[in-house]
Amino acid sequence: MSEKETNRRDFIFLATGAVAAVGVASAAWPLIHQMNPDSTALALSTIEVDVSGIEVGQSITVKWRGKPVFIRRRTRDEIDLARNVSLNDLPDGLARNNNVINTAIASDQNRSIEGKEEWLVMLGVCTHLGCVPKGQSIGDSRGEYGGWYCPCHGSHYDTAGRIRKGPAPKNLDIPPAIFLNDSVIKIG
């Protein structure tokens, strides 16, 4: 077989193989992507919560992306308590707030909603192993720091939802949350 024929032969096989490989990959993608969240899940990836009925000192829990979100309208005392904490006393110094840059420090201002310091919106999922901390209902234990207490392994969170004592490594996560108007918070 001549040199030219060999080259042409190899090219055809190469081209066929390459095109076939593209075909297989294109066929595989839908089979993989179908396991990603479907449009009903994605539709609930943002929710709007009417908070107009929440009094000062009151908390509600809403479900967002399948998980509980704690929304609390804090009292003046709780805000002051959070602000008087030195940042050196915090096991986790980062704000863990999706609404600010990820290097922001865990000051109370970086934890509450900007311009509305009464309002705390956090994922009610303990950063240790995922239990739902107590503190939302009136009779609940609030731990030693007046915020939330996780009964599973004894993590204590303060009035800004920051970890103070116990095995949890991080402050409670804050999801994207903004006030659309005076009475509605959009989460997600």
Binding site: R9, I12, T16, V19, A20, V22, G23, S39, A43, L44
Partner: protein, 287 residues
């Protein structure tokens, strides 16, 4: 070898018997309405038919308006979500418009923290609200007849295409049998022949199997005022609402046909390459 049995005669006999069967089959005037005078449904022109089919956004929006203002008083649409109205490949409302449309309706939710069910405005993530809570109430409100859910109606109906059309349809991609039927039905409330025995509470329709349908003619001129100024004739409204119903039945039509084009072109290219490869390989023999 026995030549006494004349096989060519047997062959001819068998072939002609088969031919007779085929003739009987194709010429029989068989109608699904078992004998009644149901008119043949005509093919209409739709933007979504054919290899390059697409939905006309304005048409779907007008159709939605007809559904909302006329049909939704009796017919549910339980597989469609309000958010579908703003998703690609559909009527093309904006997300705010879809949200506003949803908010016009109220859904039961709950239980709340007191254990009570409560009413709230529908969200885009909710399904279309049904006019009746269940089928029993629906029947009671409609003289015992159940208005069918319309989400899939364009795929749940068909027309008798006859021979050889059903073979031709396989290769022309004709899939509008259902929507042509719906359009015909909405325009089929014509004058009844004088000798027709119409039962109480029923209406005469040229295209409905049996010619008697419980639904009265839902469309009349100007029953809807179109936002874009299109004249609200019965033909226009039935065209628009039929197109809308095609979309509710097949929301992924545009994506499907677009992908199909790319896939088939790709397969032709790959087939060509494989053919050349095959020829090259087989040429190694006997040269």
């Amino acid at each position: 070898m026995c030549k006494s049995i004349n096989f060519s005669k047997i062959r001819q006999l068998s072939l002609s018997l088969l031919g007779v069967c085929i003739l009987i089959a194709s010429s029989s005037n068989f109608s699904f309405a078992s004998g009644e005078d149901v008119s043949k449904v005509k093919e209409q022109d739709w933007t979504f038919s054919g290899v390059f089919g697409y939905y006309d956004r304005a048409e779907l929006q007008r159709g939605f308006q007809v559904y909302k203002e006329v049909c939704s008083s009796c017919h549910s649409m339980k597989y469609v979500y309000y958010r579908n109205l703003s998703e690609p490949g559909g009527p093309g409302f904006s997300t705010d418009e879809a949200k506003a449309i949803a908010a016009e309706f109220s859904v039961t939710d709950g239980p709340d923290s007191n254990g009570d069910m409560f009413e709230r405005n529908a969200l885009p993530s909710d399904k279309f609200v049904s006019p009746f809570e269940n089928n029993v109430i629906a029947r009671m409100s409609n003289g015992g007849a159940l208005p069918p859910d319309l989400s899939l109606i364009a795929k749940a109906r068909s027309t008798e295409r006859g021979f050889p059309m059903w073979i031709v349809d396989l290769f022309t991609g004709y899939q509008e049998q259902g929507v042509d039927y719906v359009y015909a039905l909405l325009n089929g409330y014509e004058d009844m022949p004088s000798d027709f025995n119409l039962q109480d509470g029923m209406n005469y329709n040229k295209y409905y199997p049996g010619n008697q349908i419980a639904m009265y003619s839902p469309l009349s001129a100007d029953i809807v005022e179109y936002a874009d100024g299109t004249e609200a004739t019965v033909e226009n409204m039935s065209k628009d609402v039929s197109a809308f119903l095609m979309w509710t039945a097949e929301p992924k039509l545009e994506a499907r046909k677009k992908m199909g084009f790319k896939v088939i072109i790709f397969l032709f290219i790959l087939a060509g390459l494989l053919y050349l490869s095959k020829k090259k390989i087989w040429a190694r023999l006997d040269h």
